[in-house]
Structures are given as C-alpha cells and as structure tokens.
C-alpha cells in the first residue's frame, strides 16, 4: 500500500491474522483484578507462536 497522507495506523489488523482455535494458555480474565466485570482485551497472549 502506498504511503497515506491522511491516516496514521496505530494498530495493525491483529484479529484477522490470529484466526485460530485458541491455545487457551492465557490467564482467565476475571482472575486478574476485576472479579465483577469483564475486560478481555487487556489480557496477555501466552501463545509463543504468535509473538
């Protein structure tokens, strides 16, 4: 893609390239700090192959 003048992309399309069944090795979100709500996107991925 040629250089864009009116756009700065700060996050690449991570959802697209990570389509897989999921290894399940990451932390369960509710165990981390909240216990009463649910933010999943701030969990770390632990799949070494994706890093």
């Amino acid at each position: 893609m040629k250089e864009l003048k009116q756009v700065k992309t700060i996050a690449q399309p991570t959802l697209k390239v990570t389509a897989e069944k999921g290894c399940g090795e990451c932390q369960t979100s509710c165990q981390s700090a909240c216990k009463t709500s649910c933010t999943v996107a701030n969990q770390e991925c632990e799949n070494i192959r994706r890093r």
Partner: protein, 440 residues
C-alpha cells in the same frame, strides 16, 4: 463495521472486525462519520481521502467483514477447566455494606475449607484440565487469610500434584488485608503470581463501606498492612476498590491510592441490587464518564513522564493482545472457569455461588458432567443481540455473565450500565495508546 470517536484532539477510527486502529485527518474523520459535512474541504483533498479509504478497505484495514470465527468453532472447543476460584473461607472479618457475597457467607452457613476438600478441589482441576499446561487457582472468600494454614498447605500440595500432571499452577489471592502481617506477606510474596488487595480509596469513602462486623472503619489498619506488603512485593499485585453512587468522584480515590505508593490500581463499579441507595444508575453515567476522562489524563501524564502508574482497565495491548477466540468467548465462567465452595460445591463463577440454579456438582463426585456447559459456552458475542452491532465486542467479549443474569435474569442480555461504562473505558484506553503513538 467501524467506530469513529474523538479523544483529546485526535480523530480515532476503529475497524471493528480486523482490530486495526487509525488516527485520521479531520477531513477523513468527517468523511467516515458524516460525509454530508465535507463540502467545505477542497475537492482534491476529498478525492485523496476517498482514495485512501478505498486503499485501507482493500488492505483489510477498514470496513472488514467479520469472518474469523464460526459459531461451530466456538461450540466445539472441548470441556476443559483451567481456572478455579477457591473459596477457602465462607466467613469474613469485615462486613462490607456492598458485599455481593452476603458478608462472606454467600447465603449459606459460615464455614472454612478443610484441607481434605481443598486437595480434592486441586485434584479436580488437574484431572479436568485436558491439555492446558497453565492453570490458575485464586484463593478467595470471604476472607482467605482466616484460613491461611489451609492456603499454605494447599500451595505445597498443588506444587507437588502439578508435577505428575506436567502442569504449572499459578496461585493468586484476594484479601481485605486486616490479617496481612509480615509473616503472611512473606509467604504470599514467595508463592503467589498475583495478589489482589481490597481497598476503596480515601479514608472516608473506604470506611463508609468497608467496616468490621462491629461497625468500625478498616482504612487505617489496611493501608498500613498494604503499604508494608507492596514495599516488599516483587511480583504483580493490584489494589482493587469499588466505587458506588456515594463516591462518583472515584478518580479522586484512584489518585489517593496512587499517592499512598500503590502502582497498580483497579477501581470497579459496584455490583448490587438496584434498590440500594448506593447502586449505580443510568443518570450517573455522565459523571462516571467524566471521571474516566480524568483518569485518562492522569494515566497519560504519568506515562509521558515515565512514572509508574497503572489503571487496570486502561491497560491494553494494541500490538497483540488475546487471540480472536478468546475475545469472542469471554471470561470462561461455567466452561473453563469454576468456583468451589468450602463444601466442595462447584459453580460457574464466584458470583453465582449459592444459587441452586447454577450448582454444577461437587469436587467429590466420582464423575463430573457440567450440565450448564452448553448454556455458558453458547453465551458468546455472536448469540447476544446487543453485542452483534456493538463496536466494543472484541474488547469486552460480551461482558460479565453474572452481571447479565443478575440485572436481566438472562445470560444473553448484557448489563446495560456495564456496557456503557466498558465502552467509555475502552475509548479512553485506546485513546491513551493513540496519544502515546503520536509521541513516539
């Protein structure tokens, strides 16, 4: 689907289905959010912006279709349990007014987990964990320090038992801090991967809600204990508070906790019956949003100055983060996450404990069949009507099952107030990253 919003002076565009996030010019922002408003821009600039939008779409970074995951993939993952909330004490040395666990008893008898039942719970987790290597046990309550000898013995037991299964158990503990002396702190520091320290913030705010059974405030004792603990802590910890309608200025509580020297802070909206005077209501949303904006300013200032300050819900990794399967399926309650009572009873998570409708069985049962597995496994974002057209669905994963059930009596109908606050927190979290990206 895209989501356009402004954060500080930045125009942010999220391509929901790919996860791409863009900072765009004023012209492109208007083109994407309301094309009828661009008539005053030069024609050649409009043409350029239009071409760039087309290029992004062709590159799979804008207006991307949602095609990553099929419902069949989600519903065919196999029943594996990897995380356990272990209620080592259904009793508490506090009587917090907003406690969702009936001040520790969870609507049942006050009791402590026996070592024998605790070992059976660990055996249950190991036996049902399939091919997962990393497992989690959170020592929870009530107040787990009331049963600390059992906690210590179970850590030792788990360390031995995990070897024969080739697993790695990560222990965490959630404590109110009243009994957190140096000896316990030392053990926790050595053995726990994460520690959650419960405190609400300013003394008057904390002591209005977090009381001893005799009605005394707990702030002074707890702050002292937590500061001593945090000073020696080498691993992860969070101070975790609750805000209610009584402290809608909760950014002040976060600031206060930071001023006490705590670096990792989480303050959560109260979960309670809507009839309570301190329950959060729709009319509070503008003020709650204002507070998250204030927290975002604080977070940005600290990040730009290189100071250690972390607000749990603003932590977000735009370069990687969890895979899309995780983002779709959520917290795992009732499928890969269970709560265990002192009697060994199994529930989908700690917030369902005590509700017979959600009793899954007992760790002592010779055979375990999760009768609610399908019900929870199918409670994902492609099934929930409210999630289908929501831009935040890949960040919140459909929200908390317990909140949905308790507010709407329906696992598939998300808690509206929770959705509103979550969307605001996410806009702040992504906005912070956008600002930091422009500074890099």
């Amino acid at each position: 689907m895209i989501h356009c919003y402004q954060f500080r002076e930045h125009n942010i565009v999220i391509d929901v289905n790919s996860g791409a996030i863009h900072l765009v010019s004023d012209l492109m922002y208007q083109l994407l959010s309301d094309p009828t408003t661009v008539f005053h821009f030069p024609k050649e600039d409009v043409a350029e912006a239009t071409e760039e939008i087309k290029a992004l779409a062709e590159a799979g970074m804008l207006f991307t279709d949602d095609e990553q995951i099929t419902t069949e993939m989600l519903e065919d993952r196999g029943a594996v349990i990897k995380a356990m909330c272990l209620h080592v004490a259904h009793d508490c040395n506090m009587a917090c007014r907003y406690c969702f666990g009936d001040t520790g008893a969870f609507d049942g008898p006050r009791s402590l987990l026996s070592l024998e039942t605790g070992k059976q719970a660990i055996d249950f987790l190991l036996a049902h964990s399939g091919t997962r290597r990393n497992l989690e046990i959170d020592f929870f309550g009530g107040e787990p320090l009331l049963n600390f000898d059992v906690v210590k013995a179970l850590v030792a037991y788990g360390r031995e038992a995990e070897k024969s299964y080739g697993k790695n158990i990560r222990f965490t503990i959630t404590t109110n801090g009243l009994l957190l002396d140096d000896k316990k702190s030392e053990f926790i520091n050595e053995t726990m991967d994460n520690v959650i320290l419960s405190i609400d913030g300013r003394k008057d705010v904390n002591d209005k809600m977090r009381l001893t059974p005799g009605g005394k405030g707990t702030y002074d004792v707890v702050v002292n204990n937590f500061q001593r603990f945090a000073a020696k802590r080498k691993g992860t910890y969070y101070v975790r508070g609750t805000f209610t309608a009584d402290n809608l200025d909760f950014a002040e509580d976060v600031r206060h906790l930071a001023s006490l020297g705590f670096q990792n802070i989480s303050v959560e909206p109260v979960v309670t019956d809507s009839s309570k005077s301190y329950a959060l209501r729709e009319e509070h949303l503008p003020r709650i949003f204002q507070e998250y904006d204030a927290l975002a300013d604080q977070y940005l200032d600290a990040a730009l100055r290189g100071e250690p300050f972390s607000f749990f819900h603003f932590r977000i990794d735009l370069t990687q983060g969890p895979c899309v399967v995780k983002r779709v399926s959520g917290c795992g309650a009732g499928t890969e996450y269970v709560a265990v009572t002192p009697e060994g009873d199994l529930y989908p998570c700690h917030q369902f404990v005590g509700n017979p409708e959600f009793l899954l069985g007992n760790v002592k049962d010779p055979v375990f069949e999760n009768r609610l597995y399908d019900r929870f496994n199918r409670a994902h974002i492609y099934i929930k009507d409210e999630c289908r057209d929501c831009w935040a669905k890949f960040y919140c994963s459909g929200g908390c099952h317990a909140n949905a059930y308790h507010s709407n009596d329906d696992l598939l109908k998300p808690y509206h107030l929770g959705c509103e606050t979550e969307r605001k927190r996410l806009e702040c979290a992504i906005g912070i990253q956008a600002v930091l990206a422009t500074q890099a």
